[in-house]
């Protein structure tokens, strides 16, 4: 059995501190309310049901991204700083689905289907590139990701999209920066079997808004994806992939093609990135184009690292805990911090926590035990 100290060292003090800080954030709202500081400060009081609704929603919104990192970590490619490639293929799928005027579930799943060939194509090319530069994957992934985001930015302007809901009205060409999916597939997952609760507000248009809404469909989708990933990691291929990441020499000696496994992992990661952005958009309500995908990989990476993953080991538990904590931080920090110390420090806290945890992971002696 491992001692407590061993567990602490494995987990790492910085992570524990962040963990405790987040737990504290979750516990804060009631006290913030009791002390009434927020009233003094003139900040709207924190609604706990709304906050929790928000946390669940954002958890579902982002979990698929975080899940997308798992295969590449497991196969030894490191943190996928190039997740933007998956996101871009997802955006292509989403915009094409809208171009073909697909609505509702057909729109969402149509987008997924349309995104798949791009994900396989981009992921394949990206994977082959990463196989050529073993040992430098993360640095190169980051710049390939950035470069492709800007390349696609040019493409968004030039590609011959014509659907009036997407292109700039007066020019008649070039996609808008943000495209609403309001009339297409907004909340298609969120609202599936959603459980409402709390106060109900009625908008002038007669639309009911609940203070608390449990996004059942979204979470089910996440659970399904996570389960499939869990299952995949238990297949022959998944086992081989983990072995490649754990010790490529062992895997090669066992007759496994290391390059092929890595390629498969990159393609899966890219595909999940595409699925992730679709889930994100249906919940968020907008397709964000151009430079929006730049930062998304960083949030996902920070989340999985907070969940306890390292540069070369990650599990479903890391994904779920990490996403929950990190999204919890993003949701709770603004309201809690603003109300307690009357300052909008939360943005700074977010940067320091997320980038700090990535640095921590990078500077740890991460080589597999030898």
């Amino acid at each position: 059995m491992r001692s407590f100290k061993q567990i602490v060292t494995d987990f790492g003090w910085p992570r524990i501190i962040i963990f405790l800080f987040l737990v504290l954030l979750f516990l804060m709202p009631p006290f913030a309310k009791v002390t009434g500081i927020e009233r003094l400060a003139g900040v709207a009081s924190i609604s706990i049901p709304a906050s929790f609704s928000d946390v669940f929603n954002r958890f579902g919104q982002n979990a698929v991204f975080v899940l997308a990192l798992v295969p590449m970590i497991q196969s030894g490619c490191g943190l996928n700083f190039g997740l933007s490639l998956g996101i871009l293929s997802g955006l292509l799928g989403a915009t094409l689905s809208m171009q073909f005027n697909l609505h509702g579930a057909a729109g969402f799943f149509g987008g997924l289907v349309l995104a798949s060939p791009f994900a396989v194509l981009f992921g394949g090319a990206y994977g082959m590139l990463l196989n050529k530069v073993k040992g430098e994957e993360m640095t190169i992934a980051m710049y390939v990701g950035f470069a492709s985001v800007f390349f696609m930015s040019i493409m968004w302007l030039l590609l011959p999209y014509t659907h009036p809901d997407m292109v700039w009205g007066f020019a008649g060409k070039g996609l808008r920066t943000t495209i609403s999916v309001e009339n297409y597939w907004i909340h298609i997952l969120n609202n599936f079997l959603a459980i409402p609760g709390g106060d109900v507000t009625l908008s002038p248009m007669g639309v009911k808004t609940y203070e608390f809404l449990f996004p059942t469909g979204e979470l089910l989708f996440v659970a399904l994806t996570a389960f499939l990933m869990w299952l995949f990691m238990r297949t022959k291929t998944g086992t081989a992939m983990t072995a490649v990441g754990s010790n490529p020499d062992y895997a090669r000696a066992g007759g496994i093609s290391v390059d092929k496994m890595r390629l498969v992992s990159v393609i899966i990661s890219t595909f999940l990135g595409a699925a992730g952005i679709l889930v994100y958009e249906q919940s968020f309500g907008f397709i964000q184009l151009y430079t929006a995908p730049l930062a998304m990989p960083f949030s996902a990476i920070a989340a999985i690292l907070i969940g306890g993953a390292s540069v070369n080991k990650a599990s479903m538990v890391n994904v779920l805990i990490g996403t929950f904590l990190f999204q919890g931080l993003l949701t709770m920090a603004p309201s809690v911090i603003n109300s307690t110390i009357n300052s909008d420090l939360s943005e700074v806290v977010r940067i320091i926590v997320s980038q700090g945890i990535i640095i921590y992971a990078l500077t740890r002696k991460t080589k597999v035990t030898k």
Binding site: R234, I256, K370
Partner: protein, 534 residues
Amino acid sequence: MGQETPLLSLQNISKDFYGTVVLQDVSFDVKPGEIIGLVGENGAGKTTLMRILFGMPVIRETGGFKGKICIDGQEVSFTSPFDALDAGIGMSHQEFSLIPGFTTTENIVLNRESMKNSPLNDVFGDRMSILDRMDMRKRAEGSIVKLGVKLDPDMLVSEMPVGHKQFTEIAREINREKTRLLVLDEPTAVLTETEAEVLIRALRQLAAQGISIIFISHRLHEIIEVADRVVVLRDGVIVKDTPTEGVTVRDIASWMVGRHVATERVDEAHRYFEEIILSVKHLWVDQPGETVRDVSFQVHKGEIFGIGGLAGQGKLGIPNGIMGLFPGGGEVLLHGKPAPLNDPRTALQMGMAFVSEDRRGVGLLLDETLEWNIAFTAMQIQNKYLKNFGIFKIRDESAMKKLTEEYMDILHIKCTGPKQQAKELSGGNQQKICLAKAFAIRPDVLFVSEPTRGIDIGAKKLVLDALHKYNRDFGMTIVMVSSELEELRAICDRIAIVDEGRIAGTLPPTAELAEFGLLMAGERSAKSEEALSA
């Protein structure tokens, strides 16, 4: 020479690593200007002795050593290699410690550059001094002349032939003004015959100038040629310390190999085999440090074939090449069918398996469970331990557990259970896991490489017994590669000795020890060929 104070005197040096004795009561003196030839098999304790001499931190971390080191009659205690350098002991390692992008001059005076003060010295310290390249070159040339070899002081090391690198390395050591004792670890291993001759001349010249040299080599004729005295280490004990005059290569070879802890042959009966199962022709393998140049041999079905030789000669490259782990070429026939090289998967599928010498690097998934470690290859190659769900196959955890428990039982693996991580086991038990992994795919031919390296005696016996048992009970053909001649002699039916990437000869296990020693030392003997044909 009379009662001259020895330059270096090692007195009763003993050292153990966690109870395993590697050096015992080692004492010898080095007089000024004397060349000592230090020989011994791998693991005889040469490296440890030199580490002690140089005050390497690893010695202190593992509990220090017993005994005294005296220089000029004064006891010294080095805490780091730099202390040893300060005391005038220089060392040239087997792996070059040179910067490829630097010139000869820059390497010779590395970190001892001549400098001129610059105005910024007073502000930021001495490292702001300007290099005096003229003087650096002059000093480098001085060392080169002292060594008596031809070296271009302005040539980049990366563009040098390997022999020049070796000279540069030695020139650097003698460039220190104080250097009085040079330790050369296998300096001729990478040299051509002519280069080696030049080096030996250079060493004589240095000795004539009063520099003492400890010359470590397995080329015994060189020892006889250059050394004044030969010191033979075997199993951590000095078995011979004698002037080289009148000593023959054969003498040294037999002292060196000797008889270790008696690992008695289990059955002395000679076995005869008919069918050839594995045939290797003109194999070359590019494994760094273990290059195989041209190896041909044949293995009979049901035989245990031993491959021995000193480290770095290429014996390890043979199984690694056949199993496709390192790039190689040549022809390998299994059951008369060609087995492709550079393709581990096909090699495994054809019925060969390999237990690597690099247990932690190649043999194990240290961060995974024992179940994974044992079942992985069988799962990937033979689709065992999988549950079929139509389009996809899921690991059958319960079958893996059963398998693991079975081998835990057969091989007496000490562990907390099948779910324990491989890194938590001791070396011997890890080795058993590697064996279990190979046994699990039931190969026709099993390659085992250094099966007993780094494990204790009890575990050694278990491992050898297991190999023996699988050979006798299941008729598994085994090719065993080992540095330990005794264990090869204990269980093999034939033993090939590899030297410089080629098979120097094949001997029956009952052959005389000196024969093996000679083969290892690169002294080809016609007798071995006879033994082979016999």
